[in-house]
């Protein structure tokens, strides 16, 4: 019962948040100079005034901004995200077509970063001043301070010219389907570099955080008690210390999910990965308002879902949270 109430409350807040995101982004997008019809005109190499007026009317751009917002929200409420100005496809189908690519990239990077980051952090915490720990610190600082696009470009140079074993662009090879298994392998092959460059930043953060958190916990009273009881060091380390040390990491993972999506825009652009990020980048340049708003809606939805999952994880990791 408490859980249902909790979820209902969360859902209510989430709905308010989504609407606020939509209104805010709708108004912000319009602050950018130029409008979609001008961009269309440019892409087509010219346009007459009649066509321009027609298009503006068709897209509802001739109405005042607030009226447009009203129309948009009304349509949104009935589940219609509108049509992309540029693709003439429903925004929903455009986004759904690209969502899997982004989810694959982001989740792979996230899992890779969390798993290897915490492992490295735990290893480093065993001998805080050891060689491995120093090495991890150095790697983390580099990983954290290097911009994602730069890491990506360096990886491209390395794996395109020096050691050409990994594809540096796109999600699939330019070929027709070779069956389920071959296609998956092809995608996995293409996934390595983008996921790696996205993961490196977060890996650095997680390993630093885990190390600090582990050191903190290892110094606490209950660990000393556990050791005093004569428990096996491995048990102390993983069962008593690690489970407690992992809480801040869950927090950060949840908080950073939004950043991860933002990072995906850059990585997708650098590696030509056909996901939501590239679509967002192109849509900004084209002032494709409906697509952009649809994307922002989906991104806020993803962030909200991620945060709900984090809360659930908390409850699993720490029984005390469930009790309170």
């Amino acid at each position: 019962m408490a859980l249902i109430l909790f979820l209902a409350r969360r859902l209510f807040y989430a709905a308010i948040l989504v609407i606020a995101v939509l209104i805010l982004s709708f108004l912000l997008i319009r602050l950018a100079p130029g409008d979609p019809v001008d961009t269309l005109a440019g892409q087509m190499g010219g346009m007459t005034e009649e066509i321009r007026t027609d298009l503006r009317r068709e897209y509802g751009l001739d109405k005042p901004t607030l009226a447009q917002l009203g129309i948009y929200l009304e349509r949104f409420a009935s589940g219609n995200l509108g049509y992309s100005y540029f693709f003439n496809l429903p925004v929903l189908s455009l986004i759904l077509q690209r969502l899997p690519a982004t989810l694959l990239l982001v989740l792979t990077a996230l899992v890779a970063a969390v798993v290897s980051g915490t492992t490295l952090g735990v290893l480093a915490s065993r001998r805080p001043n050891g060689l491995l720990s120093q090495f991890i610190t150095v790697i983390s600082v580099i990983g954290y301070s290097a911009p994602v696009f730069w890491t990506g470009m360096l990886l491209i140079i390395l794996f395109a010219s020096v050691l050409p074993i990994l594809p540096v662009s796109g999600m699939t090879a330019a070929a027709v389907s070779g069956g389920w298994l071959l296609d998956s392998l092809d995608v996995a092959h293409h996934l390595v570099l983008p996921a790696l460059s996205l993961a490196v930043v977060y890996l650095a953060q997680y390993s630093r955080l885990t190390r600090a958190s582990m050191l903190d916990v290892l110094g606490s009273d209950y660990v000393r008690t556990a050791r005093a009881k004569g428990l096996e060091e491995r048990k102390v380390f993983f069962k008593h210390a690690f489970r407690n040390a992992v809480l801040p990491i869950i927090t950060i993972v949840g908080l950073q999910f939004g950043n991860l999506l933002a990072g995906a825009i850059v990585v997708e652009t650098v590696f030509n990965w056909p996901g939501l990020g590239r679509l967002a980048f192109d849509s900004v340049l084209r002032r494709d308002y409906p697509t952009l708003l649809g994307l922002l809606f989906f991104s806020s939805l993803l962030v909200i879902v991620a945060n709900q999952l984090v809360d659930v994880c908390y409850r699993l990791a720490d029984p005390r949270i469930k009790a309170s």
Partner: protein, 525 residues
Amino acid sequence: MRRAIAALITTLAVAATATASAQEPRRGGTLVMGQSTGTTSFNNAVGSGTGIMVPGAQIFASPVMHDDKWNPKPYLAESWELSPDALSMTLHLRKDAIFHDGKPVTSEDVAFSILTIRDNHPFNTMLAPVERVDTPDATTAIIRLKHPHPALLYAMGPPLMPILPKHIYGDGRPIKTHPNNSRDVVGSGPFRLVEFKPGDQIVLERFDRFFIKDRPYLDRIILKTYPDSQTSILELEAGRLLLQPFFNRVLELDRAKANPQLVITNEGYAAVGGINWLLFNNKRKPFDDVRVRQAFAYAIDRDFIVKALHKGLSKVATGPIHSGFPQYSPDVTKYSLNLKKAEELLDAAGLKKGPDGIRLKVTCDYYPGDEDGQKRLAEYMKPALKRVGIEVEVRAPADFAAWAKRMATKDFDISMDAAFAWGDPVIGVNRTYLSTNIRPLVFTNNAQYENPRVDELLNAAGREPDEAKRKLLYGEFQKIVTADLPLFWLTELPYHTIYNKRVHNPPTTIWGTASPMLDVWLSDK
């Protein structure tokens, strides 16, 4: 000895047949092509741009094609004739052409397509003189014109006149947003659309019932989107990408030149006719003074631009018409670097140097998205014009929409700009110089140039059926504008096709890859 000679002869003969068979066109294979701008629609009846025209020309067939010498060739139309008064063009269509859904191509479809293009295509001058299209029988279409329109023969080519099936696109839904523009596209061209992932890839498959026997050679064309030119080069070098058209990044072209497996060519862009220029805001002081505009022309070193900035891959543009066009005239006012003359002209215009050596401060915009054709040239203006006391501030636009707005509202001093002629001056040249085309829109007469004689010449030339007389009219036009200099032409854009040696018969007609790839074939090496 005799045996040795016999062996030698056999070897030679074998080698000779091997070479011969290597040159023999072969069926099959997948041509992977790159594109820098993603495709948003395939219906080139209502949109232009390479993203639409290149795949559109594979999916839809047009009444005629053109070779590399501007000659029209039969395509959907077996033959055609212009009436003596040049007011009606009769097309005799093939009887065996069918659409991808199996329905025959008839004169009804041709009439429907022509009127659709006339009313919706962004190049509104292209078919504006068409009054109606008569269809006396299923394979005859007569285009009735309000006045003679020699550009028509080029407007009937693959990138500009796709023949749409009326039974699909004529269903009453608005054509510009018709769902079949990007899904389940039906044409009668050599390839049909089987997959479209916007921004990623397009898969076109050979249409087995295409009306030209034994064509195309290719089984499949895959168009991959590479927004970043460096990625396309890497993919070309890796042999994964086989042909990249409309490529104009000079550093990467230079790099491709050094690769023994790659070939670069600038053939296949004649009708595209891209020229970049420095646009003056003729309505704003001091650019309303022709001496000031000419001074700019004398202070800019176009040879330096071509040799150093474009590594010799472009060509100096001497006037408003691309040198690949039949209407081009070299008999124009020419400008070359002459700093002294530039300073004299500026002095005469009353722009004296101040104590700091500066006589004029201007802002320079540029059309974003073309690094070598635009941005670097805008940056070059700064040191070049500094030499004659003009201080240039380059106003980098955030993106296309931001620049387009400055052009539409005429909020600029000077700007880098470019345009494409698309087959005939009437289609792509007139718009920049006609005083009737001064509009609050990008890619119009944004110099706001007004010369009644130029208007008269362009309008007369557009209606002149006699090719020789037409050339004279355009000759006078080129002479006048190069003297008036509403804008200063810099280079013909360095468009190239880069292709792997496995690709044979790369498209080099006047429309290049924006025409059907019937003869392209692939070998193993």
